[in-house]
Amino acid sequence: MTKQLESLGRFSLFVWNSLLWLFRKPYRWRLITDEILFIGNESLYIVSLAAFFTGAVFAYQSWLAFVMVGTDSMVGATVSLALVREMGPVMTGLVVTGRAGAAMAAQIGNMRVTEQIDALEVMAVSPLQFLVSPKLVAGTISLPLLTAIFGMVGNLGGYVVAVWVCGVDPGIYISKLKYFMDPWDFYHGLIKSGFFGFLLTAIGCYSGYRAKNGAQGVGKATNDAVVSGFIVILVLDYFLSILVPTGVRVQ
């Protein structure tokens, strides 16, 4: 138990120091935009793919259920709410952890075991400021953007299946969706995804930063980053879902 607390303490200190470095010169705007592009490049395609099929299968399953009680007009609203509030942020978080989070752990881990991080330090450049801080900012910005894309593509997938495969009336699909959706449902998902983005990058960077024992250690760091990232996102999602306001309406 003390060991877990100790590593939590080390992790927090690592994140805290990286944040402090953001406010010290030189400011590294270029690196932040580079990292955003990197995360986007790594994840955009697979996020879109995941989104389309998540929306599609969710529309199909909920239609199967709704049609039994004759409320298949609700498919659009249900799919949309679930995507925007839950599946979007969580699925995007998991996909980006697997892609960009793992890549960050591998990159920083490799730099650690090949003494490139020591080299930065020797050249009087803070590795936290150079490598970690820009990624933290980029992760926190990118995840909401990717989540928004997930929401749009996912809804498209849901619409295509509901209307073209299951034969739900398109007009009713859209009007129910509009009626039940509130901007705060969007904000809820985006806020959560911001937290996920911050944490999955922090975890990826931290695992890499502490890598040791050569290539094998880098593999372990990458693996740790993905596993811890998944767990943290899934657990945190529950608590954030309670704490962050949504657009729940009682009809």
Partner: protein, 260 residues
């Protein structure tokens, strides 16, 4: 040695890593004279790399004091340590080039970080000069993974001297290179040190090369320095461990007397 003449100093430094039973450094003390080329010999795992990293504050000792140009780095704040580090150039054991950057950007890195007033053309010209000084041409666009071990060492050397350091640290600059390339690198180290009027501390296994280029040679054994001497005196050492080390490398006082 007068205090003014000392560039680097270890005073009773102890360091034990949590995963090992015996201390890696056990009360190590030695001095490196300003403007000299000083070679640190020792077996694999003796703690040579660890010793170098102490001078840069990459590793913090459990006990003892480390002085750089008379300043106790254990008492330095962040800002002081950063300032001191800028006066160092270090060549890592595996070169530690940034593998995401090409040769130009690797060598330009310290310039871009610490010479922000330099214009782009100036930086490119300076990098070309630096590469020229380590006898490399037409490779600025190559990535580190496309270079041979000897070329990487030379690029690492160019990067290490980019800011005109006062103190140069070399971690096994020639290990793993063929004898001819090794000799070229050794000569580059000597000429660069003299040209910059710098102090060089070099880690090596290669006793023959060390005796050829060094002003002073020290030997690490069981976490301490057991001998420090000029090459001529080093080969005459009475220390049994040094004798054994010399013998196993085929060096005898007589055979070397001629070469020196």
């Amino acid at each position: 040695m007068n205090d003014q003449d000392v560039a680097l100093e270890f005073k009773e430094v102890w360091k034990k890593f949590s995963n090992s039973a015996t201390p890696t450094l056990a009360g190590m003390s030695f001095q490196v004279r300003k403007g000299s080329i000083h070679v640190l010999l020792g077996h694999s795992g003796a703690g040579k790399s660890v010793t170098l990293k102490h001078f840069l504050g990459l590793i913090v000792p459990d006990e003892g004091h480390i002085f750089v140009k008379g300043q106790d780095i254990g008492k330095c704040g962040d800002v002081e340590l950063t300032r001191l580090r800028k006066t160092f150039g270090m060549l890592f054991q595996n070169s530690a080039l940034f593998d995401g950057l090409d040769v130009l950007e690797n060598v330009a890195f310290p310039l871009r970080e610490h010479r922000r007033e330099m214009r782009e053309e100036e930086i490119v010209r300076r990098v070309e000069d630096l590469l020229e000084s380590v006898e490399l041409r037409n490779i600025v666009q190559k990535m580190p993974s496309e270079l041979s071990g000897g070329m990487r060492k030379r690029v690492g050397l160019a990067r290490a001297i980019a800011l005109g350091p006062e103190i140069l640290l070399f971690d096994e600059p020639t290990t793993g290179l063929d004898p001819e390339t090794a000799r070229v690198i050794d000569d580059l180290i000597v000429s660069t040190t003299r040209r910059l009027k710098a102090t060089s501390l070099i880690i090596s296994h290669d006793i023959h090369a060390s005796l050829r280029i060094a002003d002073f040679v020290s030997m690490i054994w069981e976490g301490r320095i057991i001998e420090t001497a000029s090459p001529a005196d080093f080969v005459k050492s009475r220390d049994p461990v040094v004798k054994q080390f010399l013998e196993s490398a085929g060096v005898t006082a007589v055979s070397n007397a001629g070469k020196l």
